[in-house]
Symmetry: C2
Subunit: 327 residues, 2 copies
């Protein structure tokens, strides 16, 4: 492998001059810079980034820590972040925590030891607060949290517009003429689910409808619990559901199909989701989609521009068959 010392020797200058020339420093003459660049190209030089990183005490890598890489949501965030970071000359190093706090700490330590330029983080479910992050990362290393964020940690945060999104989704159901709209809610230990429930409530109240806790079905995010929730909703006289999850909505559809209830004629349903299957099933499922790719891009841009504010990424309402009575 050819080094700057080789180039320097071949041109009769010093390595420092070559280094500066290649870095575009104003301290080297235009003519020597061109000579260096020419020779470097001829000799097929490429900077040893490891040496460069050691000397600079910082690398051009960004660490991304997620619970599981292969979840549709996270892989899209990573994809979005990578596409922006790559343009800016950064590479991406990935760690998955498998939802374990210990693994998250281990990953953060590894990234710190790699002297990454920044860490993008969506917390493991086991994490109850961000104290471990502060401890490991210190205050110098830029941190961008996304989706699962702790407000007490410094740095940029990228979150979905949960409240606003749920509001829009519920409003949509109201506008379609549904009269008794329940919700399949998630775990109230998670900020995102709390916000969605708030948005749902706000939409009802702003339309003069009463918020009825008896048709709020909490802790339902998988197919089976969605199925159960929907059966209860039917017993309680609901004619629509806003679901905070995609799989729970799928379960709800199972229940509706079983009872022979027509969707969307007799019952409307909107799910919060990024899952691709929602658009493919029949009837296709109306969804309130987070935009993970955009969140990843936003995280990258927040880091590149040195911002530390909280950015809210709007959710997109996809009106499909399951809630569209007009068509």
């Amino acid at each position: 492998m050819v080094t700057i010392t080789d180039i320097a020797a071949s041109l009769g200058v010093t390595p420092s001059t070559v280094s500066r020339a290649l870095a575009g420093s104003s301290r080297v003459k235009e003519s020597t810079r061109l000579a260096v660049e020419k020779r470097a190209a001829e000799m097929g030089y490429e900077r040893n980034v490891v040496a460069s990183n050691l000397r600079k005490g910082r690398s051009n890598m960004v660490g991304i820590v997620v619970p599981r890489i292969h979840r549709e949501f996270f892989s899209n965030v990573i994809g979005g972040a990578e596409s922006v970071l790559n343009q800016a000359g950064y590479n991406v190093i990935i760690c998955q925590t498998m939802e374990s706090l210990d693994a998250e700490i281990k990953a953060l330590k590894a990234l710190r030891n790699y002297r990454v330029a920044a860490v993008f983080l969506s917390h493991a479910i086991e994490c109850k607060n961000g104290s471990h992050v502060r401890e490991v990362l210190g205050n110098d290393l830029p941190l961008v949290q996304f989706d699962r964020v702790f407000p007490d940690l410094p740095g940029a945060k990228i979150v979905g517009a949960n409240c606003e999104g749920a509001f829009t989704a519920t409003k949509h159901l109201i506008s379609q003429g549904y009269k008794r709209i329940g919700t399949i809610a998630g775990f109230m230990t998670s900020q995102a689910y709390v916000e969605r429930l708030a948005g749902y409530r706000l939409a009802l109240e702003s339309a003069g409808m009463t918020f009825d806790p008896s048709i709020v079905f909490e802790d339902s995010i998988v197919r089976e619990t969605g199925y159960e929730a929907c059966k209860k909703a039917l017993e309680a006289g609901c004619d629509a559901l806003y679901s905070t999850g995609a799989f729970s909505a799928l379960g709800a559809m199972d229940a509706l199909k079983e009872k022979g209830i027509r969707v969307p004629e007799d019952f409307g349903i909107v799910a919060t989701s990024n899952e691709s299957f929602t658009s493919l099933m029949s009837p296709s499922l109306s969804t309130l989609g987070q935009q993970p790719f955009e969140m990843g891009q936003a995280a990258a841009r927040a880091f590149l521009e040195g911002r530390t504010n909280t950015e809210v990424i709007p959710m997109e309402l996809h009106i499909r068959q399951s809630s569209n009575r007009n068509k």
Copy 2:
């Protein structure tokens, strides 16, 4: 940050002794090793991997190059590889090529400059052969290709059992009593699709059925072309299809629904796919699934064990409603 020099000073030994102690070298006394380890822990020492990598000329990172991170298949491969590599003390650095040859070359160069321990690669569609890889990576850097591989390149290769899988899927349709089985095939420029077609043909012929090119519908991998292919298949008197793609099978389902043809009673269908929606739709779609997570794990193990053979990962036949007449 505390360095080995700090530890050495605090113990009155030299950095080299500390380094060897922490590396578990037999050249340091048991008692000093313990003392070093104790002090290192006390002082909160963590190895500067950048310096270590520079000195060793090799890092403990593995580069993974894929067309797009957020494709379900690739994100699963990455997830599988990461889970194994992480256990072995490696971290994963990811590059996406967006199917561009130039981006693939750029990514490989970046990884080489990071002095990664190995490169796992699934080629961009633009690549017609592996010559660029050889040029950039040289012969020292271990290469593991997966899914989209070039046989002319050295190193381990992890591929799906395309021929065998298609054989099994087609056999399954035959066993269900379907009499005229067509196939929605992909592009014959891709090795994987060629192999699947071969498997399909083999299954027919081994069952004494004739291979009929007029019911081989090539170049159909999206929903629209799948829809068209299915209509043609129906005109040609088919009562079943083996589809090489999931989305084309979805299109086929559209066509069948439109014509009011019952699945699986009057028509059977099996798709090759890793897409999760296949199990969620109704009727659920029988699939021949590649096992991307396992492929990622296999790639990692091939690297860790220094193997350079070609490993074939079996495909899994998921018999669901779309082809199950017995139930």
